[in-house]
Each structure stands twice: as structure tokens, then as C-alpha cells.
């Protein structure tokens, strides 16, 4: 059955909180992994899988589904926890993340058979090109499904992203929506210190994309932006989603040191308490 769309804002809030809890617990069990981006992306993933994408967890390869390509493979925890929450596989399996024999690889690997994965990815700068290929195939076959590609902002320093950006506009792929996780930080520090990306909106515009900015931690704003960015025919759309790395856990929000770390058991229980406070 095609996933029914959730419109109740309170329910979306609740799901995002559950996903965040699940991300913290899962990463703490795994002992390694990237906490920051997964917490920051929880609202986007909630909106996409519970309210935007046409998809069917019982039929992961349904040909008419919208495709979601995670280009930043290191945000795998938020993808896995969301897929489990929406019903692609049992949530207990999250405990196997990064363990030997698991279907939940550190970065997504399709050959391990996890349902709902659209691409094995992890080397930055490749997902948008693959998304262009899939969107192009949909156009060739007169299909109406869409391709969503989740990019990191640090990832935009890879030149190949801009090759893909050029191609998407050239090919007039209005069935392609890129979402940039603009949290402003990467492993070495702030993106603007490591390698400046601004003026980012103007860059995407100059490459021929329809650009919409939004608060990537606000469900209503995310949903409105996704609607808006698809209104221009013959142009691909990009949403610059301003998120906070570590969102939901006040003590680590915006702290780049939490990009590539997993919480210890003690940290995890502290973070879960902070999360509960935020939600209540």
C-alpha cells in the first residue's frame, strides 16, 4: 500500500523526536558513526518519508515510487532510522548498524540487501550525478515519479557536484529536487572557513536551478519549500535547508566536533534527556 501522507503537525513532531531518539541510541550501540548530520536531518527525513514521497514500504521497488538518493552516505543513520520507522524493516535491526554481517553498513551498501536503499554511496560528490541519470530515465520513459537528492553543504566543495548541476539544468530536469543540508559546518570547522561556499543561492541560480531557502528544522517550512520549488517547469529545483547540526540536543547543536562522532552510553542518556526536555 502506498504510504499515506501525514498532515498533522503534532504527529510529524512526534515522529521526528522518535527518529532523533533512535539515531542517538543506534549510534551509541554502534560505537562509531556520524551523529551531527543525522540529528540535523531528522525533520527533513520525517517530512520526506511521511508526507512527501510516493512510496510503499511493503513494495520497495514499486516502479512508480519517488526515488530518494542520499548523496551524503555518512548520514546513513537518519536514513536507516526513518526507513525502519516507516516500515521497511524491523526497528530492532537498527542495533546491528556497522556490525559484521549487518545490512546496515556504515555508509549505504545495496549489496547487503536492506530494503528501501536507492544507492550505495559514501564517496562525496556522486549522488547528484546518479540522480540526474535517474531523472533523465524518467523523462525518457514519460514517467511522473520524482528524484530527491540529499546533499551536504561541505559536499558542494566537490567539483563533480557542479558538473551534475550543469547537466540537470541543461537537460531541463524539473523532476529532480536537490536538498542541501546547509548546516554550515564540516569536519574541519565552519564551511566558510574551510572553503567558502557563499554566495550559495546565487551559485545555484547561475547554474540554472530554481532555488528556495528554508528552515530545515521546521516541518511547515520544509513542506512549503518542496511545494514551491517544483512550480517552475523545465528547471530542476534546489532547497537550501538551513539546519542545525545536532538539532534537538541543545548542548551539541551547531558543534562541528559532533560531525563524525558517536555518543558514549553516558552521553547518549544525557542527550536523550535533553531531547525529552526540548520536546516537552
Amino acid at each position: 500500500m502506498i504510504q499515506p501522507k501525514v498532515n498533522d503537525p503534532l504527529l510529524l513532531q512526534e515522529i521526528s523526536a522518535e527518529i532523533r531518539r533512535s539515531v542517538i541510541t543506534t549510534l551509541s550501540q554502534a560505537g562509531s558513526g556520524h551523529l551531527g548530520a543525522s540529528l540535523g536531518l531528522a525533520d527533513l527525513f520525517t517530512c520526506l518519508y511521511f508526507s512527501v514521497l510516493a512510496h510503499d514500504p511493503a513494495d520497495p521497488l514499486w516502479p512508480g515510487r519517488d526515488r530518494l538518493i542520499l548523496s551524503i552516505g555518512h548520514a546513513a543513520p537518519v536514513l536507516y532510522t526513518t526507513l525502519a520507522r516507516v516500515g521497511y524493516f524491523p526497528e530492532q535491526e537498527l542495533a546491528t548498524l556497522r556490525k559484521l554481517g549487518s545490512r546496515l553498513q556504515g555508509h549505504p551498501g545495496r549489496e547487503h540487501g536492506l530494503p528501501g536503499l536507492e544507492l550505495s554511496a559514501g564517496s562525496l560528490g556522486q549522488g547528484l550525478s546518479v540522480s540526474v541519470g535517474r531523472a533523465l530515465a524518467a523523462k525518457m520513459d514519460d514517467q511522473s515519479w520524482r528524484v530527491f537528492c540529499i546533499l551536504g553543504d561541505g559536499e558542494l566543495q566537490e567539483g563533480s557536484v557542479w558538473e551534475a548541476a550543469m547537466a540537470a539544468a541543461h537537460l531541463k530536469l524539473d523532476n529532480l529536487i536537490a536538498i542541501v543540508d546547509r548546516n554550515g559546518v564540516q569536519i574541519d570547522g565552519k564551511t566558510e572557513d574551510v572553503m567558502a561556499l557563499e554566495p550559495l543561492k546565487e551559485k545555484w541560480r547561475a547554474f540554472g536551478w530554481e532555488v528556495v531557502e528554508c528552515d530545515g528544522n521546521n516541518h511547515q517550512d520544509i513542506l512549503t519549500s518542496i511545494h514551491l520549488v517544483q512550480q517552475v517547469p523545465h528547471k530542476p529545483g534546489v532547497i537550501l535547508a538551513y539546519t542545525k547540526m545536532g538539532k534537538g540536543v541543545g548542548s551539541i547543536e551547531g558543534d562541528y566536533r559532533w560531525h563524525g562522532k558517536a555518543p558514549s552510553k553516558q552521553e547518549a542518556s544525557r542527550f536523550l534527556r535533553e531531547l525529552d526536555k526540548e520536546v516537552s
Binding site: G133, R134, E163
Partner: protein, 322 residues
């Protein structure tokens, strides 16, 4: 098997690729060719003119081309991406590794202008490392056909009768076209082209013709060389290699590629484990090429029938291990 192969006339192997691609597109709308600006020079223009709706121009952006090919393959298309081998295999290695090979997608990558024989363009454009890099990638099939006729057949096989990623290598210079249009060609099955029990020459690509000429010369000296065309570098035909080593006791490899990591290494890996015999490698000795006429270059870097003959003579003096 002792028949002499006749050159029907020199023809570039890239022409075979272009013809094979064109033939593959007929009644197969799922075959999509991707262009990286140099479509005419790599033989894709014929296909593009005949099937404009199955051709996508993506400009000088090879990394993106490979990613787009992966995306198309995920949706059931058969993308064929071709550009010069130096760019097709090396500019894009990470995209091929992760987006194509790790996802195990049926993408066909054409490495054009391969080898030293591309000539005057010089070292930047002479792909002498592509076989080594492509064959090390899991899931990848690596083809290196020997003449235009075989390249046409291999291209069709790569597109319609092979699973997963395929790299197929071909050259620009006009070279002898000598294999039969009705030959039996199977990916992964090497061809025995000339019988002999004194020594084995295993060659690939343009060097197969040279190996045959070497065998004809050696015959006059009563040295009977077996010649094997290893048109599939991966998966490698272990059986024919081990049998040849057992029956002839000495193996020469010949390739228009760095000695390091290519055909010679692939054969040596098999023999080291299965049946070690004395070997010699004819190929580029870990150095870059340079500008020059293809034939002059092949001579200077000893990628000729004469060099193979000399390698055989040297090897036969040390044929058995002490």
C-alpha cells in the same frame, strides 16, 4: 590451427566499437550512449545520428557522465559511455568504483585511443594504465579485443550479453584487421590462435597481431610458439593459461600497456598460484610515452613482433627453473 591469419586491411579498432554500438542500438531503445564532447573521434557519432533519442550529450564532464550512467542503469537502461581511455578509466575512477561497481550496475565504458599507438598527442593521451586500474575493481569485466572485427563483436557482447560493469578498450591507429566475422567470441574465454608446444605468447589488443607475426618468424627457426588472444583480461581464462604453461613450459605476455598491473601481471597471478613457469613481459616498462608516429613509437618501446621474438629467444635459454 596452424593457418596463417591474413590482414584484410588496416582498420582502427575504434571503428569496430562504433559499428558494434550502432548495431546494438537497433530494436534496443534501452541502449543509451553518453557523449563527452569527442563523440566523433571515439566512434559514437554513427549511433548518435541514427538514434538521436538514445544519445545524450553531457559535455567535458566525465565524472558526471559516469554518475549519470549509473542512474540510467538503475532504471533499466543500458548506458554506454565512451571517451579517451585516459579519461574514461582514470579521471573517473572513484565514480566507477562507487557509483558503478559497488552498485554492480550494467554500465559499458569504452576506453578509446588506448595505448601508445594513439601517437602524436603524446603521453597525456596515451592510456597505458587503464587495464590495471579497471581490473582491480570488484564486479568489473575488462575487455581488450585485438582488431576492428573483434571489437565490433566484443562491443555487442558487452552491451547485450554481459552483466554488471564492463570496460572495453580500443585504439585509434589503423591496425591489421584479421579475425573472422564468424569467429566464436565469448567473454572470459581466450582464443587459441596458433598452435605450438615450445613456448606460449599470450597477447592482448594490438599486440595479438604482433604475436602472430612473431610466431610465424619463430617457426622458420623451428620454434613452435603457441599464441593466445586474451581478449578478456577479467574474468581471466585460467584454464587456457595453465594448460599452456603445462604444455609449453614458458610464457611471454605482450600488451600495449604498463607491464605493471596489466595483462602480464594478471597472467603471472594465475601462474604463480597454479603452475609457475619462466615468464617474460613485453609492455611499457613503467614509464610515460611521448609524441611520435604510432609505428615509430611501437618500435622505440619494443612493442613489436621483433621484440616478442627476442623475448622468446632469451626466455628459451632459461626455460626451466633450476
Amino acid at each position: 590451427m596452424s593457418r596463417r591469419f591474413i590482414n584484410r586491411g588496416d582498420k582502427p579498432t575504434k571503428t569496430g566499437f562504433g559499428e558494434g554500438l550502432l548495431a546494438s542500438g537497433i530494436r534496443h531503445p534501452e541502449v543509451i550512449a553518453l557523449g563527452a564532447d569527442i563523440t566523433a573521434s571515439v566512434g559514437v557519432n554513427l549511433f548518435a545520428e541514427r538514434f538521436p533519442n538514445q544519445f545524450v550529450s553531457l559535455g567535458i564532464a566525465e565524472q558526471n557522465c559516469v554518475g549519470v550512467a549509473a542512474g540510467l542503469a538503475l532504471e533499466g537502461k543500458i548506458p554506454v559511455f565512451s571517451t579517451y581511455g585516459v579519461f574514461a578509466a582514470l579521471r573517473t575512477t572513484d565514480q566507477i568504483r562507487v557509483s558503478v561497481c559497488y552498485n554492480n550496475l550494467h554500465v559499458v565504458i569504452g576506453g578509446a585511443h588506448a595505448g601508445l599507438s594513439v601517437g602524436p598527442d603524446g603521453a597525456t593521451h596515451q592510456a597505458l594504465e587503464d587495464l590495471a586500474i579497471m581490473r582491480v575493481l570488484p564486479n568489473m569485466t575488462v575487455l581488450s579485443p585485438c582488431d576492428a572485427t573483434q571489437t565490433k563483436i566484443a562491443t555487442q557482447q558487452a552491451i547485450h550479453h554481459t552483466e554488471g560493469p564492463v570496460y572495453i578498450r580500443f585504439g585509434r591507429a589503423a591496425m591489421p584487421d584479421f579475425t573472422s566475422e564468424n569467429q566464436s567470441f565469448e567473454v572470459g574465454k581466450a582464443q587459441l590462435l596458433h598452435a605450438g608446444d615450445d613456448v606460449t605468447i599470450i597477447a592482448t589488443g594490438h599486440l595479438v597481431w604482433e604475436a602472430l607475426q612473431a610466431a610465424y618468424t619463430l617457426k622458420e627457426e623451428q620454434i613452435h610458439a603457441r599464441v593466445i588472444n586474451l581478449h578478456t583480461i577479467k574474468p581471466i581464462d585460467k584454464e587456457i593459461i595453465v594448460k599452456a604453461a603445462r604444455e609449453t613450459g614458458a610464457v611471454i605476455t605482450a600488451e600495449e600497456h604498463q607491464v605493471t598491473g596489466g595483462l602480464g601481471s594478471a597472467v603471472a597471478e594465475v601462474l604463480a598460484c597454479e603452475y609457475p613457469v619462466p615468464m617474460k613481459f613485453v609492455g611499457m616498462p613503467d614509464r610515460f610515452g611521448e609524441s611520435g608516429d604510432p609505428k615509430e613509437l611501437m618500435k622505440k618501446y619494443q612493442l613489436t613482433d621483433l621484440a616478442i621474438v627476442q623475448a622468446v629467444q632469451t626466455l628459451l635459454t632459461t626455460k626451466s627453473y633450476p
